[in-house]
Symmetry: D2
Subunit: 282 residues, 4 copies
């Protein structure tokens, strides 16, 4: 496996799309030296966006998590999250009533739009559900798995409403050696039980890329050939980037271990344009 | 849909295999009048067995739950449970060390066999797992879903051990209108996350039928043609019975509603030999 | 199930997206009276596009099939097909070499872009495949199923190349009572055998909707609220339209039978905004 | 990966179950030297059976294919094939009418039992199908894939009949470097299209093991602890053997390459008791 140099590659593109977790940060915080990469991007007039399967907070709160670590390059308008797609869906498709959710209050707060009330599943009374017009799966925290998952199943047996999955990831890392079950895996279990088709937002689905691409069109004249997608996961970042027509870089600072790269590319058939050790430049 | 009379049909067979939940009992207890059916079976020299996807207790405790309701026909040796298959597997295939489990203490108690220690996932220390040689998923109760499911995933990332699913059901009814998520659905979620192949016991798998069939062979001379399988669920009882070569009866006292029978048979392609309203006889 | 009147509904939108098969035409040709609908659209200043999971021909040939039946409203630039997405993918992501394909010569002809040769699987020599840089599944005709499917599997075992599925449908109707297996079902079989991740274009995927939406943006100022998606299939047209944020109409002139509508909406959880008998207006 | 010596291991068991393809023979014929293994078995009083997912011929014809290569140890009564399970199913569950099939005449010939006519799909007239009471998928040869697969789908849309898959394998090797699509993969495609539940016979399913085990019980007094299952494929031979409670040997003369063993065992979680290079003994 030939490793390429990130700066050399990035030089050939006008815009870079970054995945967040495993690329810019990991379970210990932002990658040391990452600010050099963003200085270089700014000095060389490169646009960038962060595309993240994260619906636990709004773009403002996501940006603040970088600020708190002394990293100021990633501002809210640079962040495109699957939560934003969930919100757009509710805006366009759910006109009244209550939106039930699994997740933290913070994640639901971001969803609230004019006219829609949100209600955590824990507070749903199964005898009074006529007003509930959608269910959103936002985050694996903020509810009691022992009771609220079964309650969700019973809600969906009685109300035929759209179910939105705002984060399709099955797991996320919580330390160097441990992972946690994410809401995407829970969503798949519940979907299997109730036998209905949920609506999923997040990579590899094209809609997240489109959201970023549309924003770009307002700023400058770029084509898909000018955009480079950078991610640590073949099945989301690279598959999604490839399918959208972008060149792609797989980095080895997250989900994909250096010793597994070749086997994984061969066994999945998901082929990044380049493989780089990291986006951090010397 | 032509409904048949259970007694008339059962007259033609020497042995009846009954599913338990939805056939002999429901969320409110044993079906009223069920003792008449078992009196008739006894008077007419019919053998019977109860085949159940239940690993929450051993056969003795399962039988006691009938005794407590004043129903004495179902003795422990008449009960074949998926938990018994899980125990046989451990007996034959796991020779030493500790068996970790998700479930109640009662369910694990039944599993304990000479030489094997059992340990609930809640008490597993992820830093000391070299001794854990198998994992068994027994019951949806007895653990904290918020923490123990993620712990299970992390155990399976570090130890490549057999995982036994002792109850394949995805849900079970808790009242007339509510269901709960069963350990079978949880097992499927975890299997998807870790990407490994779990070992499942329970209908429709042939092994549960075989277990009952072998027991029969010791008692009397019967062939598969002499056995009638009775169940309330197409995808477990009827599919499994059909595949094993038995004639099958679908009853309408459990999972399958009278108004849905025809659509479900047509859409699944799982065709019972007969459909009866109930096993209760007048 | 309350049926709505198509004209009344369409009046409230600026743009209509139509599925083709089952909406505008069926196995016997275009629906009688359909020209009245398109006259009404023109007189009332409604824009429209036809979104079709058809990669068997280019937009020009697709339009000609309407002309031949004396129907001139649907011009090539009104047609958005999954084959166009496949071509864009090849343009952007495959820079040289040969593209192998399953399909007719006509379907491949449309794919040919500067610098790319196309080669039917039947003519591939498995000993000389170093030059093959992509495989496209276009159509269920134009090859010998007895030999070319196995040949495709062997090609993919030796070359780790992107595989593009340009039509995701599993079947299509060939007469009132018969269907045929479409290339989408074949693609799923081969994907399962080789264990790799294929790249699929077509409804319900967002990319086809996006292609039409982008074209619209050049013409007039419309938002997603102004667009109505009309289709005969819940799992492709309606699911895709809903997810993209559009209001949707299910019509009963194709895949979905009047007597099944309610059951299917309930069992899939895919809920159209409206249900109409047909797009043909009186 | 520590390789064990087959003779040393086999010494500890009374009965050996062998998979056929990849263990006793490969695409070039029976493994050179295999007769030494069977001489040793005979001299040491070991029983053996051959368990094969092959429904293309009856046990007699399967045995003859060994005889023709000068190898006489494997007699018809030593062979347990998935085709035998299919025949038992038809015997027990289909009492009259015609059985339609996909496969060669030879494979169907074996299926014919008193009272049942067999009819290749190619000769089915879709207008006269009231008499067809089952469909069996036997072999990938003997029919025209271009026409008969679609015909099969149309038959199953009109007749709600049991569908038996007598060989679950997805592929089989035809030379050192090439494989062919087997009827198991075709079955999965058709099952997906018609949305019904087919009945599958063959490893890893317990029923094939049970068939061999029952035959054993008539011969000698053995328990599951006395039986060793030998196969070249984790997902069929080893998974099935493990689940049935047998000790298992993975050999490296077929589907599993020496360099992939460790990765495959780790990634699938299917763990053979032993790994041996081959069953051929020195």
């Amino acid at each position: 496996m030939q490793l390429a140099d990130f700066k050399t590659i990035a030089s050939d593109y006008k815009v870079i799309f970054f995945d967040a977790f495993g690329v810019l940060k990991n379970s210990e915080g932002i990658l040391p030296g990452i600010e050099k990469t963003f200085n270089w991007l700014r000095e060389n007039g490169k646009e960038f966006y962060v595309l993240t399967n994260d619906a636990s907070r709004g773009p403002r709160e996501l940006a603040e998590s970088y600020y708190r670590q002394g990293f100021y390059a990633i501002t809210p308008e640079r962040i495109i999250s699957s939560g934003m797609l969930a919100r757009e869906y509710l805006d366009l498709k759910v006109h009244d009533g209550t939106v039930a959710y699994l997740g933290t209050e913070k994640s639901a707060h971001y969803l609230e739009t004019s006219g829609l009330k949100t209600l955590p599943i824990s507070q749903v009374d199964l005898k009074e559900i006529d007003d509930i017009n959608a269910l959103v799966l936002l985050d694996d925290e903020g509810f009691d798995w022992n009771t609220d998952l079964t309650k969700t199943v019973n809600l969906l047996r009685r109300r035929n409403i759209p179910v939105i999955v705002a984060n399709t990831d099955a797991t996320y890392p919580v330390s160097k050696n441990r992972i946690a079950i994410a809401i995407g895996a829970v969503a798949k279990m519940i979907e299997g039980i109730v036998g209905k088709q949920f609506i999923r937002f997040g990579k590899p689905d094209a809609q997240l890329f489109m959201f970023a691409y549309e924003r770009l069109e307002n700023v400058s004249h770029v084509s898909k050939r000018d955009i480079l997608m950078v991610g640590d996961t073949l099945k989301t970042d690279i598959l999604g980037g490839n399918k959208f027509g972008l060149d792609t870089v797989l980095v080895l600072t997250g989900n994909t271990q250096p010793q597994d790269v070749e086997v994984q590319i061969r066994s999945t058939g998901i082929i990044p344009t380049y493989v780089c050790k990291s986006v951090v430049i010397k």
